[in-house]
Amino acid sequence: MIPGHLQGVTLYSFTRLFHDRKQTLESLIREVAERKLGPGLEIIGFSSFRGFPNLSPDYVKEIRTLIDQTGLIPTSLAANADFGIRRDRNLTPQEAVDYMAAQIKAAKDLGFPLVRVQISLTPDDMEALLPIAEKLDVKLGLEVHAHHSPMDPKMVAHRERYEKLDSGYLGFVPDFGATTSAVSPSLKEKYRRLGIREDFIELLDATWQRHHLAGPPMTDQDQAARFGEFIGLAHQNGYPDLGVELAVNLTGLHGHANPDDWASMLHLVWHTHAKFFGIVNGDEPATDLAHLMKVFCENNYTGSMSSEYEGWHWNWWDDPFEMVEGHQAAIRKHCADNGRAVRTEI
C-alpha cells in the first residue's frame, strides 16, 4: 500500500481529564505515547502551558525533553486569535499580528513545525504574519471549522491570497466538524440523560436536518439567524438555559459542508483536525469517515492528522482514550480501503 497521512492526536481530546485534574500535561503526553495514539502530537498553547506564550527557557527545555523521551512528533501548536479579548474594542490589525507573533515564536521554541490559527484573522493579517512564519520556519494553518466551510467566501478569499503568495507557509487546517453528516448520537444521549423531552430532541434534530439540506451558512447574518433559531426553540419549549449551548453545539460544532469540498484546498494543507464526537460499532456516526478518507486519499494527502475527540464536552460516561483508539482504527481501515497505509511510526 502507498504511505498515507501521519497518525496523531490532539491533547484537546482529553480536556475533561485535564480540567478534572485527573491528568496533567506530562501524564497525558506519556499516556498518549504508551497507548500508541501518536506519533503526531498536537497541543493547545494557552490552555496547556502556564504562562503561554511567554515561556521560560527552562520550561521550554523541560517540555522538549519530555516529548523527545516519548518519541512523539510535535505536529501542531494550536494558537488562539482572540480578536475579542478586550471588552472596550476588538484588537487592531497590528495588535492581532503581535498577539499571534508571540505564539508563533513560542511554537518554534517548543519544536512545533506548524501553528493552527483561526478565522478571526483576515488575509491581510496572514500576509503580515508571513515574514515571521518564514523567518522562524513555522507554517501557519487557518482552521476551517464549523460554521464555516471550505467554500465560505471568507475561506475562498484566504485561499486566493495564499495561492497568490505561493509561500509554502500559509495554508489551512481542515476540521471535520465543518463536514458532519448527522447530529452526534452521543449529544442526543446526553440530553436524554438530562431528562430532556424526546419530542424536543427530535425537533432539534429535524431543525439541524433542515439546515443541512440548505447547506452551510455563507454570511454572518445566516449564521446569526440559525444560532438565534435554536435559542428561540429552547425558550419556546421550556429550556431557556439550554439555548446558547444548543446553538453552539448544533451550529458551531455540527457543520453542513460536503466532504468533497476539502479537495479545493488540500494542496494547501499540512495538518488536519479529524474532529469526532464518538465511536459506535467501530465507526463515527456523525463524520462520514469513509467519504472523508476517500477524498483525502484520492488527493494524496500525506500530512499529519490529529484525532480530535470533541464529544468530551457532553459525554461524561465514555473513556476518551478508548474513543481515540476506536477513531484511529476506523481511519486506518478506511484509508486501507483506498490503498493507503496510515503512517503510525517514523
Binding site: 480540567h19 479579548i85 478586550r86 471588552r87 447574518q221 449564521q223 446569526a224 444560532f227
Partner: protein, 101 residues
C-alpha cells in the same frame, strides 16, 4: 480575565449584592470592574477561582444554603454572527455558611 463577566451569586435564590462580589485567582483579587480591564492576565484552566461576596441578611454561620453561581464567559476568538460569543455557566451546590471575620 477580561472574558469573565456577569458574576452572580445566589443563596437560596437571594442575590448577593453584585458590587460586593470579587474574583481571586493565583492570590490576586479582582472586582468586577477590574476583571473587565484585565485582558493581559490569565486564568489557567486548572487553577481554582474563588468568588466572594457579602452574605445576604438573615444567614448565620452553621446554616446550610443552596449556593448558585452564574458566570458569563466570552469565547474571544468566536464571532457567533452577532458579536463575540458569550456562554453562561451555572452551577449549584449545598454549602455550609461560615464567617470569615
Amino acid at each position: 480575565m477580561s472574558s469573565v463577566e456577569d458574576m452572580e451569586i445566589q443563596l437560596d435564590g437571594h442575590s448577593v449584592e453584585p458590587d460586593s462580589i470579587t474574583w481571586t485567582v493565583e492570590g490576586r483579587t479582582y472586582t468586577r470592574a477590574e476583571l473587565t480591564g484585565s485582558w493581559q492576565q490569565w486564568w489557567f484552566p486548572t487553577d481554582t477561582a474563588y468568588m466572594t461576596g457579602d452574605l445576604p441578611a438573615g444567614y448565620t454561620p452553621g446554616e446550610t444554603a443552596e449556593v448558585t453561581i452564574r458566570l458569563g464567559v466570552y469565547i474571544p476568538y468566536i464571532n457567533a454572527g452577532a458579536g463575540i460569543l458569550k456562554i453562561v455557566e451555572k452551577d449549584s451546590k449545598s454549602l455550609p455558611v461560615r464567617s470569615e471575620n
